[in-house]
């Protein structure tokens, strides 16, 4: 019995390791691509949660003690705030990092220096209170907040905890629901959508084209007087519809469940977006699906069977995921309109713009038109492949 087990194992190993493509796609490629993807994501995430090293926050301060203005250990530009409400409005508007903008608002009690000097920790009385207001949806404001809190904590410890910071039941994070939703959705949804759409396409396209080749049913279609271009177009459009349904189902599920996933940390809702935003999104998704389905269809037509098609499509999907990660990287935002010609990248950036309320209409237009053009080219290629006996009847 033992020898049979070993015989079977040998056969399975031989089947696997003698197939170079399988070894590449199953063992080597995942590790390599995960390394590349996580490196990209790491850069992206650090870019999201931290500002430039040379960043000097603009901190509006109320009742700023004189010795704080030139304090060592923190590099901020204090601006005396004459109007606390106006500063809060600037924070809420997310003006962090902008010239003349506000990264942080800090409110000291009147005569703060005297108050902490007079305060006795053992007295049981309430300590002087410092309030720090920020906008968590603004990267610069978040950075300024972290810097200031670190500085205040350190100072508070050095003077035996003679004051408190943000200890009251107040809302110090002035990010609006819209800003928070925009940040979360623009980071996550474009990437997830690309993955959903790829998954939807992969579930149907290889089966429909490589599967028909494998089962011999494509030949039955090819002997009818139907034009090959009609066959290609019919396949791509129908597969796109199915993939869109699959993608939309995942999209709706994600949009609805994301607030639950974020819990109290993310008071977000998809209702912050207008109907026009969703229409633009739909246009981008439709054109993107056409591109993905077309590419997978061409790969499937080359493959001899479904298994081979799936093996070949996997690396393409991972490349798509890498492009999708660019939605999380600030430095990879499109710098000019031509960048919207890059397939998938254009879709990710267009979706990112829609979700972050920075809609670039020309960019979205270029994305949709370019994607449709790519799909038309792919239909042409697929038609040629359906006409090619070497491709259709390769053994």
């Amino acid at each position: 019995m033992k020898s049979n087990v070993i015989t079977i194992m040998k056969k399975e190993f031989a089947r696997f390791f003698k197939d170079k493509r399988m070894v590449l796609s199953t063992i080597l490629l995942p590790g390599l691509l995960i390394y590349v993807m996580y490196t990209f994501m790491g850069q992206g995430l650090s870019g999201i949660y931290s500002s430039d090293e040379s960043f000097v926050p603009q901190v509006y301060a109320v009742n700023l003690p004189e010795d704080y203005a030139n304090a060592e250990g923190i590099s901020v530009n204090f601006i005396a705030a004459e109007d606390e409400t106006a500063a809060k409005e600037m924070l809420t508007a997310g003006t962090g990092g902008e010239a003349g903008g506000c990264d942080l608002l800090i409110v000291f009690p009147e005569n703060f220096a005297e108050a902490i000097a007079a305060y006795d920790v053992a007295s049981g009385e309430k300590a002087p209170e410092v309030e720090v207001y920020y906008n968590s949806a603004d990267t610069d404001s978040s950075t300024a907040y972290d810097m200031m809190m670190e500085f205040l904590d350190s100072y508070e410890s050095s003077i035996a905890n003679k004051f408190d910071v943000n200890s009251q039941e107040k809302q110090y994070d002035l990010a609006s629901e819209r800003d928070t939703a925009g940040m979360v959705f623009s980071m996550l949804i474009p990437m997830l959508m690309i993955i959903f759409l790829f998954s939807g396409c992969m579930a149907v396209a290889p089966e429909s084209i490589a599967g028909e080749k494998e089962r011999g049913t494509i030949a039955t279609l090819l002997v009818t007087p139907m034009k090959r271009s009609h066959l290609a177009l019919g396949k791509i459009v129908s597969l796109s519809v199915i993939a869109i349904l699959s993608g939309l189902s995942s999209f709706i599920g994600t949009m609805l469940s994301l607030p639950n996933l974020m819990g109290e940390a993310g008071d977000i809702s998809a209702s912050v977006y207008q109907v026009s935003d969703y229409l633009l999104l739909l246009a981008v998704i439709l054109s993107t699906v056409l591109v993905i389905v077309s590419v997978i269809s061409i790969i499937s037509a080359f493959a001899k069977n479904v298994k081979e098609a799936t093996t070949w499509v996997t690396p393409v999907m991972i490349v798509g995921m890498l492009l999708a990660v660019t939605s999380m990287i600030e430095s990879m935002k499109p710098s000019n309109l031509m960048m919207y010609l890059i397939p998938l990248y254009n879709s990710v950036q267009s979706m990112n713009g829609i979700f972050s309320f920075s809609i670039d209409i020309p960019g979205i237009a270029v994305t949709c038109v370019a994607n449709v053009v790519y799909a038309i080219v792919c239909v042409g290629i697929l038609t040629k492949m359906f006409n090619s006996e070497r491709v259709m009847f390769s053994k």
């Binding site: 089962r215 049913t217 030949a219 090819l222 002997v223 009818t224 007087p225």
Partner: protein
């Protein structure tokens, strides 16, 4: 007699992959499947292509059916070139071969309508044709059964019906009775004769001598991709049986007795 299918100087070569070279123990990179093959079929007759496995029968039929393109030569189907107007040729012919499969998920009923639409048939015409063919082959009783759940014989009947859904004048059958039980094989053979009686022209490839003797008017013998004989069956078998004629020619070509 009216010429309805004229094959002239057909040649087809295939590249041999390294894997196939190893398998077939050859260093040749090109295989000549069909070489300078010509024949003519006349309206209303059954033309039998006879040859051993690998002789080039199926390749010839696939060229006529426009599934593959000849490297040289051409076939005129009712005056239309398979090289220049393959789409038109497809509308004129019906093609049945074991390599054409039906989607297992669908029923004969669905498939019939689907292929009728691809051939541009009207709804009424489709219903009429479906009734005629389904009744003929007894398909009505399993018209709503998925192909996956059918026996080989049932599948072959459905394939046959699908291949002639558009009532073509020229029908190409590649090994039509292969793998069928005797009863289904008989049904198919009788149907071919019935089609002939209706004035249809058929090209039938087979290696079954008795089938050729039973249904064909004219026979072409293919050996190693070349048409070595194309003659009326009655003339060919005037003195010997078809089997003897075939092996005599085969031996002559091979230069030795078989």
């Amino acid at each position: 007699m009216e010429e309805i299918l004229v094959a002239k100087g057909l040649k087809k070569t295939f590249k041999i992959s390294a894997k196939q070279q190893k398998l077939e123990k050859t260093k040749e990179k090109i295989k000549v499947a069909v070489n300078n093959l010509s024949f003519t079929a006349y309206r209303g007759e059954i033309y039998g292509l006879l040859g051993s496995n690998g002789a080039g029968k199926t390749t010839t039929l696939r060229m006529i059916a426009t599934l593959i393109t000849p490297d040289e030569g051409d076939v005129l189907v009712d005056g239309v070139s398979v090289v220049r107007e393959p789409d038109r040729v497809r509308g004129k012919i019906g093609f049945l071969t074991s390599e054409l499969k039906l989607e297992e998920f669908f029923t004969p009923n669905y498939l019939f309508h689907f292929f009728a639409q691809l051939h541009g048939m009207e709804k009424e015409e489709t219903e009429q044709r479906k009734k005629e063919l389904f009744d003929k082959f007894g398909i009505s009783s399993f018209a709503e059964v998925k192909v996956a759940d059918m026996s080989t014989g049932m599948k072959q009947k459905v394939s046959l019906v699908i291949s002639i859904v558009h009532n073509p004048d020229i029908i190409i059958f590649d090994e039509p009775t292969n793998g069928l039980d005797v009863l289904t094989a008989r049904v198919v053979t009788d149907f071919l004769l019935e089609l002939k009686a209706q004035g249809k022209t058929m090209i039938v490839s087979t290696h079954i001598f008795s089938l050729v003797e039973k249904i064909c008017d004219r026979v072409g013998i293919i050996i190693d991709g070349a048409m070595v004989c194309s003659e009326e069956l009655s003339r060919l078998t005037a003195e010997k049986s078809l089997e003897d004629v075939f092996f005599d020619i085969y031996a002559e070509r091979a230069g030795e007795a078989v």
